[in-house]
């Protein structure tokens, strides 16, 4: 045997031990590849780590949740006579056309102009993928080369030259959970949150989440081939707000909409928040060495989730509790000694289906791995917005000399107060000065019509209040939400220390009363 022969044998042996993506693709072609789902890997790894590294080639992940930062680029082709679209709508949902004449981008969160929250960009995308007809409307100023000024037609996905999904931010590595400590129901992008921390909503698919299975992004980056809504798509690089240092990495993804399956892409309405799109993503993780294998062996009980108080309308929301993903999945957790119900907002069932589907595609030799061209960055930081103006708080603009009345006062007395001071409402306090109710001029009229005499019979006890340190934008939202003109301002002991009204806000150029 000559030297070069020996060398090639050694090279072969070493290659057998050092797994590469090329080898794994070779195994896919030969039908020898071993693929397991991310939820199956922990047991396999814990039983025998070395064997797991040696024998498992690919771990498939999956997630299916609403991802607002999603959308599609389209090219409509030219009409005759041609138009340079200045504004364009698909089923009354506006798309962005500040690019070439008949190119546009439609975002999942864009609301329709006629149906508001009930129909939006996400719905148009689902309708396109489902093969439904879409009304296309455009306007323009007209140019020498594109004379047309108006366009109204019907299209389907078949009629589009290209339809590319490009989602700037998808598939967070992990998520915070949400609860609400206030006394009012709030509607957020984390769903409906009941008052008094009566529910907790959480997101993501835990141990099946793609990025959590490769937290150092050793195999994920620009060019990684992924399962994207039923098609083969690619990671286009880091997603917006990618924050690897805090463990909140994200990816941007790209894929051909025409190849997608409506089973893995669904429109969403988030109550009183907006529209969105359920996006199904599965990433195959090649098991190249023990470290990668160990990372894919993560279990739901290893994943920590912070529950944040969304009742605090600030950028930095306080952490109420840190729990395990496993506990959230159980449907009940404990907060301050009380059982609280939990809801996932992502579909665990679909997430498993996606990981399983990806596994099948690989076994059927229909999906091959790609080596990424550039790994996701591990050192970028997510910066908050630079602010140059100071936002006033309630205490800066509220009226401090509040006229109040007592529960025992007569209706006559209070109506005189209203008229004399030209005000519309009077907070009612008890003997200690604590707020117990509110009376409006409408209540008085009503009381007279019904011949009621006592204040306590007609006052509203469930008073919407504001706190002195809240930003005035928060109060404006509250006045809009409850359709009221003013709220009393109370301190922590519920003493009335001021009142803030629509007029106070309008004076500060804050919009109220327009929805």
């Amino acid at each position: 045997m000559n030297n070069s022969n020996i060398n090639s044998i050694i090279f072969c042996l070493m290659n057998k031990m050092r797994k590469t993506i090329e080898h794994i693709n070779e195994k896919i072609r030969n039908g020898e590849v071993v693929v397991v789902r991310a939820d199956e890997m922990p047991d396999i790894f814990d039983e025998n780590p070395e064997r797991a590294v040696r024998e498992v080639d690919i771990v498939t992940t999956g997630t299916f949740g609403t991802m607002c930062s999603s959308g599609i680029f389209m090219n409509f082709g030219h009409s005759d006579p041609p138009i340079k679209m200045q504004k364009v709508w698909l089923n009354d949902v506006e798309a962005y056309t500040g690019i070439a004449a008949v190119d546009a981008y439609l975002g999942a969160a864009q609301l329709s102009e006629d149906k508001g929250f009930e129909y939006g960009g996400g719905h148009v995308i689902e309708d396109l993928v489902s093969g439904r007809e879409i009304n296309l409307r455009a306007i323009s100023y007209g140019t020498d080369c594109y004379p047309r000024k108006k366009l109204n037609t019907t299209i389907t996905i078949e009629d589009l030259n290209q339809a590319m999904m490009f989602n700037p931010r998808n598939s967070y590595q992990r998520y915070n959970a949400a609860t609400n400590s206030t006394s009012e129901v709030i509607h957020t992008y984390m769903g409906t949150l009941l008052p008094g921390m009566r529910n907790v909503n959480f997101a993501g698919s835990g141990e099946l989440n793609p990025l959590i299975n490769d937290p150092d992004y050793r195999t994920i980056g620009l060019g990684t081939r992924i399962f994207l809504c039923g098609a083969q798509g690619y990671v286009a690089g880091e997603g917006t707000q990618h924050s690897p240092k805090t463990g909140f990495g994200t990816i941007s993804v790209i894929g051909n909409l025409k190849e997608m399956d409506p089973e893995f892409l669904k429109a969403a309405v988030i109550q009183n928040y907006g529209t969105s799109l359920f996006v199904g993503i599965g990433i195959p993780i090649p098991i190249l060495d023990e470290e990668i294998a160990r990372n894919t062996a993560i279990r739901n009980e290893d994943i920590e989730v912070d529950i944040l108080d969304y009742g605090v309308r600030r950028r930095d929301r306080p952490i109420i509790k840190r729990v395990k993903f496993e506990e959230l999945l159980s449907g009940r957790i404990e907060i301050n000694g009380r059982k609280v119900k939990t809801s996932p907002l992502s579909s665990i069932k679909k997430s498993i289906e996606i990981a399983e589907k990806l596994k099948e595609l690989i076994l059927e030799k229909e999906f091959f791995l790609s080596k990424c061209v550039e790994n996701l960055p591990r050192d970028t930081e997510f910066k908050e917005m630079r602010m140059i103006e100071r936002i006033p708080r309630v205490k800066d603009i509220m009226t401090r000399n509040v006229i109040t009345a007592k529960e025992d006062d007569s209706i006559d007395f209070v109506s005189n107060l209203l008229v004399k001071n030209q005000i519309d409402q009077i907070p009612i306090v008890n003997n200690e000065g604590k707020l117990v109710g509110i009376i409006t001029s409408w209540d008085i009229t009503n009381a007279i019509a019904r011949r009621r005499k006592r204040l306590r019979d007609i006052m509203t006890r469930n008073v919407i209040v504001s706190k002195p340190d809240e930003y005035i934008d928060v109060v404006a939202r509250r006045l809009d939400k409850y359709n009221i003109n003013a709220t009393p301002v109370v301190d922590d002991k519920y003493n009335v220390i001021g009142i803030i009204s629509t007029a106070d806000l309008i004076r500060r150029d804050i919009e109220v009363g327009k929805r």
Binding site: V200, K350, I352
Partner: protein, 135 residues
């Protein structure tokens, strides 16, 4: 079990209707939900008893000027729309919504008190109430 909506107006809202009906008929009534305002009340009840008992209670209530409507099939989930996200589950006051072992949403219509919370929160608009039927 059948559920009934009871509606009555201002002139009888002050009298103890349910209590008298229970005393008169000797049949127990379970109140699932109650909304009482200045001038009208709306209750959702079940009647603990067989068909005869149900009829007796309904007649007794109607004699008192109460409008009685039997509720149809309650809450229904459109499986072709639902994605099993679970957003509805924690909002249900009576635990009528839950996951089975396969993480599929299951609806227990018996437990539903028709509060509507899940319907509004469902991102897929997949939950709805069946029409109310007059009897």
């Amino acid at each position: 079990m059948n559920k009934y909506i009871l509606r009555y107006s201002s002139d009888i809202v002050d009298s103890p209707i349910i209590a008298t009906t229970v005393l008169e008929t000797g049949i127990l009534i379970n109140i699932l939900r109650a909304k009482v305002d200045y001038d009208e009340a709306e209750l959702i009840i079940t009647i603990l008893g067989d068909d005869e008992d149900q009829k007796m209670v309904i007649e007794s209530l109607r004699r008192k000027g109460v409008e009685v409507i039997r509720l149809g099939e309650n809450i229904v989930n459109d499986d072709t729309r639902c994605v099993d996200c679970g957003a509805c589950i924690a909002l249900c006051p009576t635990n009528a919504l839950s996951f089975n072992e396969e993480w599929k949403l299951v609806v227990d219509g018996e437990k539903c008190i028709i509060c509507g919370a899940c319907i509004r929160a469902c991102p897929r608009r997949s939950l709805s109430l069946q029409d109310l039927q007059e009897i």
